[in-house]
Symmetry: C2
Subunit: 121 residues, 2 copies
DNA sequence: ATAGGTACTTACCAAAAGGTGCATACTGGA
DNA sequence: TCCAGTATGCACCTTTTGGTAAGTACCTAT
């Protein structure tokens, strides 16, 4: 019975990036700021609801920054905060691991019916 | 339309460690082999169903090794495979990030009602 | 005037993930 | 004999997550 809710840092980190689209968002914002629609097109198959929701959570968690230009028609830019950048850094090795073993992982996922290959709808 | 289902390695990696208890399992097996009951007590508040299920998936994914001693009463030992070890390595920075920002993350999680602190039931 | 683009919001629904509790086959201790 | 512990399976149910489709307010181009 620890005062802390997390047993290892992994839990804490996954609590932050554990949404279906969050890794992708992090990935696309790592390089540059992007407008909302821009980001959505970059990801490809997200619904507005999901993208907004995940962005809101990342914003609340201090990972991304939302810059509203208060223009009409609306213009909003999203970018990583400094905190978000530290997270992006920590994610690099994992990202590299995934990239390296991607074909292997894909085989595993399709073997158990988990539709990883059905993203390209 | 990519032939690959994953847009970035992050997706692939998270497809493997994306279960509620998988990070913990990885964490506990990283150091040494453990018997089933041992592992369950180490984690603390998992149900048998969940632990078994996650172990099975990790086993199917070639992350953990299951050694059945074929004894009565049953004795089974779980350990990381070589592949699993590479994953554990890639997870270290993320784990470190989580550890470093743990209190911060906990605040965020409780703020949005996500019961991270209710693990210590 | 109508269609399409901007960045969202909301209501409703399906699917997946997770949790509870009981059952197994066998042994050893009280 | 009866209960506990070993590692698991199975049926059922709830919670969480993700998806679809529509609507909002305002603009520009046709």
């Amino acid at each position: 019975m620890t005062t802390s809710g997390f047993n290892c840092g992994l839990d804490a980190a996954l609590a932050v990036i554990g949404g279906k689209w969050k890794p992708l968002i992090l990935f696309h914002l790592a390089h540059e700021s992007r407008r909302y629609g821009d980001l959505r097109r970059a990801i490809g198959n997200v619904s507005d609801k999901m993208l907004i929701q995940q962005l809101r959570e990342l914003e609340a968690d201090g990972i991304v920054d939302r810059l509203d230009f208060k223009e009409i028609p609306p213009k909003v830019e999203y970018s990583l905060t400094a905190f978000g950048q530290t997270l992006a850094e920590a994610l690099k090795p994992l990202c590299a691991w995934g990239t390296e073993h991607m074909t292997e992982v894909e085989k595993l996922m399709s073997r158990r019916g988990t539709s990883a290959a059905e993203n390209a709808a």
